[in-house]
């Protein structure tokens, strides 16, 4: 792969929206994770343009069962080149972004972008005490993150992602005791079993969103923050 990159190949994060490539909701069942729908749509969209050399599909404990099944389907029924990989790295790289006082949206962007890009030069990350917690994967709709105060710490798989240990289930289950935490999951995601039961265990708020956050979901999170923190948003 290194050779391909040195020869000018580009790497795309298929989880993320690609400019000019709207998600075509035609490849997977309706009731399916919207992130994986985006991944598959991006794959076919890049392939249509003839610009797809290889799909690197993470299929181990580091990702989710859905991608393993999708990778097998693509391998069996298409000519799309698939490289199945597993990331079982157990050596933590730290998670200063997750514990910093940056706006939650900014924190999430930095973590997601850190897959390919180093942190920006001059970025200082000061740890803050958590007022609130956000547990889960990076959401399809980042707008949800704007509802939270800056002193919100990130937990769950996103923290594992920053730590470069995405298969660390123990870390994924960690939350800050006594800190009001929203347990977020994409609808139709297998990790919703985690989110649902961790929310019950810790007295947090279980939130499930398909694509874009609804009015009800927004109001539910706002109420949770208002009841627990007296927080009424960045107004």
């Amino acid at each position: 792969m290194q050779e391909r990159v040195e020869n000018g190949a580009l790497i795309f994060d298929l989880d993320e929206p690609l400019a000019g490539r709207p998600v075509k909701d035609i490849y997977l069942p309706n009731a399916y994770c919207s992130i994986l729908k985006r991944v598959v749509s991006n794959i076919f969209s890049l392939r249509e343009d003839g610009g797809l050399d290889l799909v690197i599909a993470t299929v181990g404990k580091c990702k989710c069962d859905g991608m393993r099944n999708i990778a097998s389907w693509l391998e069996r029924t298409t000519d799309i080149p698939i490289l199945k990989v597993e990331n079982d790295n157990a050596k933590g790289a730290g998670f200063p972004i997750s514990r910093s006082g940056l706006p939650l949206l900014k924190k999430m962007e930095l973590i997601v972008n850190s897959v390919f890009a180093p942190l920006p030069d001059g970025l200082t990350l000061e740890e803050c005490a958590p007022k609130c917690g956000f547990w889960g994967v990076p959401p399809y709709d980042f707008g949800i993150l704007e509802l939270f105060p800056d002193e919100t710490h990130i937990f769950g798989w996103t923290r594992c992602m920053e730590n470069k240990t995405p298969a660390d289930i123990e870390m994924e289950c960690e939350v800050a005791s006594g800190v009001p935490t929203v347990f977020f999951t994409q609808s139709f995601c297998q990790k919703s079993a985690f989110a649902y039961n961790l929310a019950r265990e810790h007295g947090g708020l279980y939130v499930e969103v398909d694509k874009m956050m609804s009015h009800s979901t927004r109001a539910k999170i706002e109420a949770f923050l208002e009841f627990n923190l007296g927080w009424r948003g960045k107004r």
Binding site: L205, S214, S216, T217, A219, K220, F227
Partner: protein
């Protein structure tokens, strides 16, 4: 032209609940009709789905529900469930403070508009439903309705199938709130006796103005 009436407003998906601050009267009108007559009102404070602008001070629906139920229920510990047209939500009160809350945000299966649509479609009075119909699992509104019409195709009466559907909705609501011994009910479905009796625990309807009572408390105390 007369001056706009000062009101407190709970504008839900289906209906607008109005409290007139001048004469302390209450009214319920379809939301679609109310929205067309906005200029007739001076909205001092509001809650609910259907008014995103020009609505005075906005209060979160769950906050209004908590405040309203606290002003209507004297017990230190209780649970109140609001069944709206589009979704259901609840707050759990312990020692007169909010200790828990949740909101079914995605699926209309729980909610009043599905019940209202079905009741109208089948042209059945809720009062005429049997009380011993077996519960239909309502995983989601569409799947629940599919099961209901399957029952009818297998020879069950429309009344029995609808009653089973309502029991399925009530079961989902009970799961959401954690099955307390006693449950207070808010919202339009308080008026549906078949729905209220579909619960398997003591269920006490508080009526359709609980959120309005919350707004009144918040507005009078100027805590917004």
């Amino acid at each position: 032209m007369s001056a706009p009436s000062p009101i407190l407003l709970d504008c839900g998906t289906g209906y607008a609940k109005i409290f007139n601050l001048e004469d302390s009267t209450r009214a319920i009108v379809p939301a679609r009709r109310f929205i067309k007559k906005l200029s007739e009102y001076d909205i001092k404070a509001s809650t609910g789905h259907n008014l995103s602008s020009g609505a005075g001070v906005r209060v979160n629906e769950l906050v209004a529900l908590a405040e309203g139920s606290l002003s209507m229920v004297d017990e230190p510990d209780f649970t109140v469930l609001d069944c709206g047209a589009r979704d259901v939500k609840y707050v759990q009160i312990r020692n007169r403070r909010v200790a828990g809350m949740d909101w079914n945000t995605e699926c209309g299966a729980f909610a009043g508009q599905v019940v209202e649509l079905l009741t109208r479609y089948l042209d059945i009075e809720p009062e005429n439903l049997p009380s011993d119909a077996p519960r239909i699992p309502v995983v989601c509104g569409v799947l629940g309705m599919t099961s209901m019409f399957d029952m009818i195709s297998k020879g069950k009466s429309h009344e029995e199938a609808l009653a089973g559907f309502l029991r399925g909705v009530a079961f989902n609501c009970e799961t959401l709130v954690g099955r307390p011994d006693r449950l207070y009910l808010s919202g339009g479905l308080c008026d549906n006796k078949a729905f209220v009796s579909a619960f398997t625990r003591e269920t006490i309807p508080l009526g359709r103005f609980v959120l309005i009572e919350g707004l009144r408390k918040i507005y009078s105390e100027k805590i917004i």
